[in-house]
Symmetry: C2
Subunit: 321 residues, 2 copies
């Protein structure tokens, strides 16, 4: 048995690989088999994280395990899908049992939190990178896409913005701060919580949705393009955390909220009539703007002046470290 077969067995023995609802056949055969409820479709998304590009190397493997799964599952939340399973393709330069154990522990913690089971993947030798493919199910015709926003809809987000981008100087060890600041910011960076429940609650209510990974303005641009509308963002309505404001001040906090990546908070549009029912259900819904006829994204200040910046988001490969 080669050392890479050892890794496979290691992950096959992890708690998150022990099956679950919808998993007809897990790790160990040529394919895994997934069973979908009648009338449901399969939602699929793939994300790759490369060492030195998407995360610093070395970094805490437990936190990397959490984060690598969370960013992938967030795409299921954005479709309003029920999480089901995932595969892990791990490429690593060497077999470090301690690293693998801690990575698997982080992966397990997030898998348990999100309700997904590991059903397969591949382990190979090479420069460190992780490709996770996640699977969910959604009733046919009820998935939240980017293409249904209509003029008159409200533009909303599901939580505070900019925390992950604000955390970057902490992640990279470039700055320090009090625990009251560092703990919430680092938690947001390393273990973002995919808004799965919110995604389900938005089915039949939101007209468009996506998760914010490239920065609010850039991602709003994706909805605007797919829906052939203009999205208007009101800068003074952005929800900002106390920790972020204390760490970088209001101006930089807004920059992080508008253009920083890695929030993994849902952005969505919905008719005004749907707002009260969602708020009554205690769902996190922050209105930050509206949908108009037109195209692109416009940023307004508190006086209604157009303050749209020229560059709207980070490029993945410029992000970190």
């Amino acid at each position: 048995m080669g050392e890479f077969e050892l890794i496979s067995r290691f992950f096959a023995a992890a708690p998150c690989a022990q099956g679950g609802e919808g998993i007809a056949l897990g790790i160990g055969d040529d394919c895994a088999l997934l069973a979908l409820p009648a009338g449901e479709q399969l939602a699929v998304s793939t994300d790759t994280l490369v060492a030195g590009v998407h995360f610093a190397d070395p970094c805490d493997p437990f936190l990397l395990g959490q984060r690598s799964l969370a960013v992938a599952v967030s795409d299921l939340a954005a479709m309003g899908a029920n999480p089901l399973a995932f595969t892990l393709a791990l490429t690593t330069p060497s077999v470090d049992i301690d690293w693998l154990q801690r990575y698997a522990q982080g992966l397990n913690a997030m898998a348990q939190s999100c309700g997904v089971g590991l059903v397969g993947g591949d382990t190979t030798r090479g420069p460190l990178s992780l490709t996770l493919t996640v699977f969910g199910s959604v009733p046919a015709g009820q998935a939240l896409t980017r293409s249904g926003a209509r003029p008159g809809d409200l533009l909303c987000v599901g939580g505070e913005l900019g925390n992950a981008a604000g955390a970057l100087p902490l992640v990279l060890g470039q700055r320090t701060a009090d625990a009251a600041i560092t703990e919430p910011l680092l938690a947001h960076y390393w273990s973002p919580q995919p808004q799965l429940a919110l995604g389900l609650a938005l089915r039949g209510k939101a007209t468009a949705a996506m998760d914010i990974s490239d920065g609010l303005l850039a991602d709003c641009g994706h909805i605007a393009k797919a829906s052939a509308v203009r999205l208007v963002v009101e800068r003074h309505r952005l929800p900002l955390s106390t920790a972020l404001l204390a760490f970088v001040g209001e101006d930089q906090a807004r920059v992080a909220a508008l253009s920083g990546g890695d929030d993994y908070v849902l952005a969505f549009t919905l008719p005004a009539s749907q707002l009260v029912p969602l708020q009554a259900g205690n769902w996190p819904v922050h209105v930050i703007g509206r949908v108009e006829a037109g195209q692109g994204v416009t940023l307004l200040d508190a006086n209604g002046q157009d303050v749209t910046p020229a560059v709207r988001g980070y490029q993945h490969f410029r992000r970190a470290p």
Copy 2:
């Protein structure tokens, strides 16, 4: 728009990304959506190919495109699944449009041949590697697994063995030979044909199946373990190609057939009563041994002597180049 978004658009415009049966939503949203026929399950498999480990770098990107998809789809064949779709996670150190075009052309050619559509993925900067996740559908309960082989079954393969391993000195430029030898061997290495039709024909007939990627003996070991039986391979019955025999001679051809990797030919077990119907249907079925009570894999020579080697297969990371 960043250069990596350009790559995404490049693949989104490829012919194999233009939808097809079962693809409810393709590239461009947070997730793709797949629709399965009623009563069918989803078969999923993930394979990573790393430059310098699983393929020589540089190599012909068209051939790499073909091969990277074929090795993944072969796992669908091994389950008796109908091919449906795939995702591509491409990590590349730089944006080389010519390389990408030729890679996409090879990918398209194999996608068309196999009947799968590209539904999503990720493009990232980093050391060259490719992770493909393939999707198929199979009626619930009819998938071919590794675990159903029973004593008394015949052990069969779906084609000639050892050609890809035999081709390796040609792939690496270590040897030359006449076109009559090099063409079939290199074709087998660079564009293996997943035995999808054979996999479908084996549904309800084969008791166990897998595709040979690590070498016949190693992969027979997987069936033996999963089924809790012994597999007996008769060395003189191995199907060997004229080109391989002419290139390396009979002894080395048998070594390549037994322990070389990358054949992507199906190995399967079936009751003797199923042999004649399959042969009558002109399916490629070569009987190479039998299933017995016991465990492990035993290799016999033409006189029935046990000639089982100690080491049974290549390790992925030792393979090439």
